[in-house]
């Protein structure tokens, strides 16, 4: 098994002085599924934003992170963002096109692929083919979530990073999401760290857990952490 993600001494401090991450150290191997749990403000989102180089704001010459052996530095950003699909916490941040169709097509277009071929393949996966022509401003939160997921899947990432993917979904939506992730996992090897505030749901497809106090990571079996 290849190492998909290697984090070695990652620290981050926001510009207002808040220390968010402090010397993190862990790795995730290919096709492993990892849940990231911690209280609000623990730095879960901050860590996830590092995984495709959105943070730190100004790319440094050396990096504490590497994706499939590639360090996350300026020169590698494009290829790393291709491999790491990041689902944002707030769907309104992610859906920036006038219609759902265009939004799902955005990623493939940037990669030089033909959206006409990709979108029909990706929208059904997250159940949003029915509202492709609609504008995100008039959709419910659950619908927005599914549209976001379709947009990420359309880029065909090898690592899926989901930031609180089941927050504000109803129980049925949550079940469907978990079933979808299971399906994806059995179809191909896809590494998925995802962030959760509630630990109890993690028993679903998660395998190992990084429990967290602010700024630090503990690694261990689900029960212990």
């Amino acid at each position: 098994m290849r190492t998909a993600l290697e984090v070695n001494g990652l620290s981050y401090r926001y510009s207002d002085g808040t220390a968010a991450l402090d010397g993190l150290q862990f790795h995730v191997v290919e096709s492993e599924c990892v849940g990231l749990v911690g209280p609000n403000g623990a730095g879960k989102s901050t860590l996830l934003l590092h995984l495709n180089g959105v943070l730190p704001e100004s790319p440094t010459r050396t990096s504490a992170l590497s994706v499939f052996g590639q360090p996350i530095i300026e020169a590698n950003l494009r290829s790393i963002r291709r491999q790491v699909g990041l689902l944002f916490q707030d769907p309104d941040d992610q859906l920036f096109c006038p219609t759902v169709y265009e939004d799902v097509a955005f990623g493939p277009k940037q990669l030089g692929l033909d959206p006409k071929e990709i979108v029909p393949r990706c929208s059904p996966k997250s159940d949003c083919s029915a509202f492709e022509a609609r504008s995100p401003s008039r959709m419910s939160h659950g619908e927005k979530r599914r549209a976001c997921l379709a947009g990420v899947l359309a880029c065909d990432p090898s690592i899926l990073v989901l930031d609180e993917p089941s927050a504000d979904l109803d129980p049925r939506g949550r079940r469907e999401l978990i079933a979808l992730l299971r399906r994806l996992r059995s179809q191909r090897s896809c590494t998925r760290p995802r962030s959760r505030t509630r630990g109890r749901r993690l028993s679903a497809p998660g395998c190992s857990v990084h429990g967290r106090r602010p700024g630090s990571v503990a690694d261990g079996a689900t029960r212990r952490v």
Binding site: V54, G85, P98, Q110, S137
Partner: protein, 204 residues
């Protein structure tokens, strides 16, 4: 209430006018605005003719007159303000009337266009016409986030109203100022997150 309900859209209705191709409507409207705006002041028949045409199209579109005039009234004060300034020139009244008539006709053209054409169709029409993509993208983003920002403003207003126990008649300028500031901060933070989302999906 969501911001999109504020502008309960008339573009979803159906009529012969709605069914026309968006590009045709867009360019006819633009041509009309240019002709009306550039016609000499004493050609009174240009705005008059345009008014007739617009009245006819409005009738065909089956949009309630109240909706159309309501939207026109929202933008009219700006025009009125500028037209009023012309009163201070020689022959001011004639200039004032000409200016007011022309700009009202132009505005109404655009109001009618926006009421009969979904915004996404405009964007497509602009793209097809090879308008530089940076402009089209900017307009599309603006349209998308106008609603998000309005929603945010509405939410903040509601939150404030839920905890305001005074009569509510007097405007509390201090609170209003801080709300405006907050809104600005929130929108800049959001802009940054959106840009990050775009980068994450390969934007260059």
């Amino acid at each position: 209430m969501k911001a999109s309900d504020l502008f309960a859209t008339a573009a979803d209705l159906d009529s012969p006018v709605h069914r026309l191709p968006a590009a045709t409507k867009l360019w006819v409207a633009v041509a009309m605005v240019i002709v009306v705006a550039l016609s000499p002041r004493d050609w009174w028949f240009v705005p008059a003719g345009a008014t007739l045409v617009l009245a006819l199209v409005s009738g065909l579109s089956r949009i309630p007159v109240r909706v159309l005039l309501g939207r026109l009234l929202i933008v009219e004060p700006f025009v009125l303000g500028i037209a009023l300034l012309s009163l201070f020139q020689d022959d001011g009244v004639a200039i004032f009337l000409g200016l007011l008539a022309k700009s009202t006709v132009c505005l109404y053209t655009m109001v009618l266009l926006s009421c009969t054409t979904p915004f996404t169709a405009w964007i497509d029409a602009l793209r097809q016409a090879r308008v530089p993509s940076i402009f089209v993208t900017t307009v599309a983003l603006m349209y998308r986030y106008l609603y998000v920002l309005l929603d945010e403003a509405l939410r903040m207003r509601r939150a404030r109203a839920a905890r305001s126990f005074s009569s509510g008649r007097r405007v509390d300028w201090k609170v209003l100022a801080s709300v405006a500031g907050q809104l600005f901060l929130r929108s800049t933070a959001r802009a940054e997150r959106i840009y990050a989302a775009m980068l994450s999906r390969g934007w260059r």
